[in-house]
């Protein structure tokens, strides 16, 4: 494809200067047994993790095995929707397809009871007031809009509790 009218249009046409070179991958994705369990949890409005039978750490989402001990994680653990911001970044760069206004915060949130943080948006607070140790809670989409996807979690927001002590999350940075 070019930016010139085609030869059949009857208009004067110049030399070809541009070429459309779209790259497109159509693929079927399966998250597998372990992550399907996590995603089904999101569909019910809960964070579902799994505990390692050896080291007792709770992974969310669980990949079905403990990366430290190499054993299957079989015990499901339902986690509260509250957690602690361990680290974060302020996104100031616009890009195509961006769905939220900049600046916004992408943070690592350590859910209470979990031993693995995961990424979420922080909203309902000015970007320059977000901090490490801030206590947050998940804001879910409306019950009839829940899907087996992280899109079910709209974002996290401050829950009003005092900041967590650094020692409670220093292992998760």
């Amino acid at each position: 494809m070019t930016d010139q009218p085609s030869a059949g249009s009857g208009e004067p046409i110049g030399p070809v200067t541009m070429l459309a070179t779209p790259i497109r991958l159509d693929f079927d994705f399966t998250p597998g047994v372990a992550q399907s369990r996590f995603l089904r949890g999101l569909e019910r409005g809960t964070f579902l993790g799994q505990r390692c039978p050896t080291c007792h750490k709770v992974y969310v989402p669980s990949r079905g095995t403990c990366p430290t001990d190499g054993v299957a994680t079989t015990e499901d653990v339902e986690l509260a929707g509250t957690g602690t911001v361990t680290t974060y970044c302020v996104v100031n760069v616009p890009f195509a397809g961006q769905s939220i206004e900049i600046p916004y915060i992408a943070a690592q949130v350590l859910l209470d009871g979990a031993n693995l943080s995961f990424m979420g948006l922080i909203q309902e607070i000015p970007a320059d007031e977000v901090r490490m140790g801030m206590r947050v809670e998940a804001v879910w989409v409306a019950p009839d809009e829940l899907t087996p996807s992280l899109a079910s979690v709209r974002y996290f927001r401050p829950n009003g509790e005092p900041d967590a002590d650094y020692d409670t999350y220093k292992e998760y940075l």
């Binding site: 494809m1 070019t2 030869a7 459309a20 079927d28």
Partner: protein, 153 residues
């Protein structure tokens, strides 16, 4: 967890790139839109097709554009028994390296030969261009090459 609880989803990952082609590839694509091929004269006098801005061996600027083809010779080929969705032809065909008449390098394109028995290294082929109104300045302006004197369709 039952197997039926394992999720599946269709995903699409797409980058809608376009690129500027420069004066030499631009001339090649413009010629394709006109239903012909051009190459460029390299340092040693041999004609490079598709044309490049620099000689791939010496790195020198290439010279003038010259018309080549539309006939040529199959240098090497591989038969595709089960074309995939994005292949140029929906029925079995060959990918082939084709040295167009007047060219010193080979060009990769599809040969619509019907059956693998019909094709051989050294076979004469010629380009089957799309109708003028459908050509846009792209390699796909050549629908495929066909055997000279015995075109499969």
């Amino acid at each position: 967890m039952a197997d039926s609880d394992v999720l599946h989803a269709k995903h699409v990952l797409e980058y809608p790139y376009s690129r500027s082609v420069g004066p030499v590839i631009g001339a090649f694509l413009t010629a394709l839109r006109d239903g012909r091929f051009v190459g460029v004269v390299g340092s040693g006098g041999s004609v490079i097709v598709p044309p490049t801005e620099y000689d791939p061996i010496t790195g020198d600027d290439t010279g003038e554009l010259v018309e080549v083809g539309p006939g040529g010779v199959v240098e090497s080929w591989a038969w595709v028994s089960h074309p995939r969705r994005k292949h140029p032809l929906a029925h079995p065909f060959a990918w082939a390296l084709i040295t167009l008449d007047g060219a010193g390098t080979a060009l990769l394109h599809a040969v619509d030969a019907g059956a693998p028995d019909a094709l051989s290294t050294g076979a004469r082929v010629t380009a089957r261009f799309r109708p003028a109104g459908e050509r846009v300045g792209s390699m796909s302006d050549v629908e495929a090459f066909v055997l000279e004197g015995g075109a499969a369709r």
